[in-house]
């Protein structure tokens, strides 16, 4: 699975600051249960994929997992044993920027017990604290 953008305007980006709570992508929209981030942080494409694979091992066939985040941001690094200077390094990996409240994954077609077990497996792969949230009533 390719977890990086197909086309970008700029290959490298500045680090930025993660301020406040999520105001978008903070409600369960596609499934019955969601995994919500409780901390700000960067989730790498590898971690997202690791979460998906670990979930796939425990999920029943009829259930469906939705990934709600995408790694849009590139992170650069300079190779080891390189002298200072000579400009910014090359993009090494891609990350998704998450704020507290962001829904990371959603699951449907499964009961709460199963969803909790699946999300527990994903939580072990995440670099942020997470919790299970249920879909809210519609008004």
């Amino acid at each position: 699975m390719r977890l990086m953008p197909k086309r970008v305007k700029f290959r490298k980006s500045q680090r930025g600051k993660i301020k406040g709570n999520a105001t978008r992508g903070n409600t369960v929209s596609f499934g019955e249960f969601g995994l919500q981030s409780l901390e700000p942080g960067w989730i790498t494409a590898q971690q997202i994929e690791a979460g998906r694979i670990s979930a796939a091992h425990s999920m029943p066939k009829e259930s469906k997992l939705t990934i709600r985040i995408f790694p849009h941001k590139s992170v650069t690094s300079t190779p080891i044993e390189t002298r200072m200077g000579k400009g910014k390094g090359e993009p090494e990996f891609w990350v998704a920027v998450v704020r507290p409240g962001t829904i990371l994954y959603e699951i449907s077609g499964i009961n709460e017990e199963g969803a909790r077990e699946t999300f527990c497996r994903i939580a072990h792969k995440m670099p942020v604290k997470v919790r299970l949230v249920r879909r809210r009533r519609t008004f």
Binding site: M1, R7, K9, T138, F139
Partner: protein, 212 residues
Amino acid sequence: MKILELKAEKRTVKRSKAVRKLRETGYIPAVVYGHKEDNVILSVNGAEFDRVLNAGVRMIHLTYDNTKESVLIKDVQYDNLSDSVLHVDFSRVSLDERVTLKVPIILTGNSVGVKEGGVLTQAMKSIEIESLPTAVPEDIKVNVSDLEIGKSIHVKELPVMENIKYLSDADAVVVSVHHAAEEKIVSEEELLAGPEVISKKPKEEAGVSEES
């Protein structure tokens, strides 16, 4: 549909700082509007309102300042991190006047298509209906046990209920079963190449511009 009683108090505090203090005391700010009458700002007891929400009702007899009104829960705002209710909107309704509102769609049964290896997708989680306030269902149950792979249930095939009219497009898909999409295998070369840069001009174009 059940109609529950809820007591409220008229509220004088308006500003966010004062409302925040109100929430700390266990009350939730609320507003009542509709029927060409003045808006009234209220506060309701948080625990009492939770009891009403958990009962799954939409219609309420709201009592405040010696006034009793039939209202519909129009909107509930939540704090997404703590799950606490931040604000409630009530809409005045007349019990003999039809209202428009959204009702969740609940799927029942195990689909035949899923047993054969298909994937069930619920495209519509809730549907807009028009009905009498007293006849509003808690949810609309759709039986999917006969749904095969490649088949779908549309709005026009939803169970017909007395005094209820579906307002969504009749041909809109509610739920469908389809074959699982195959994952695209991306070669290592493609992964190593990285994303295409939009701002980069193709070499030929760049050459032409240099010559001119």
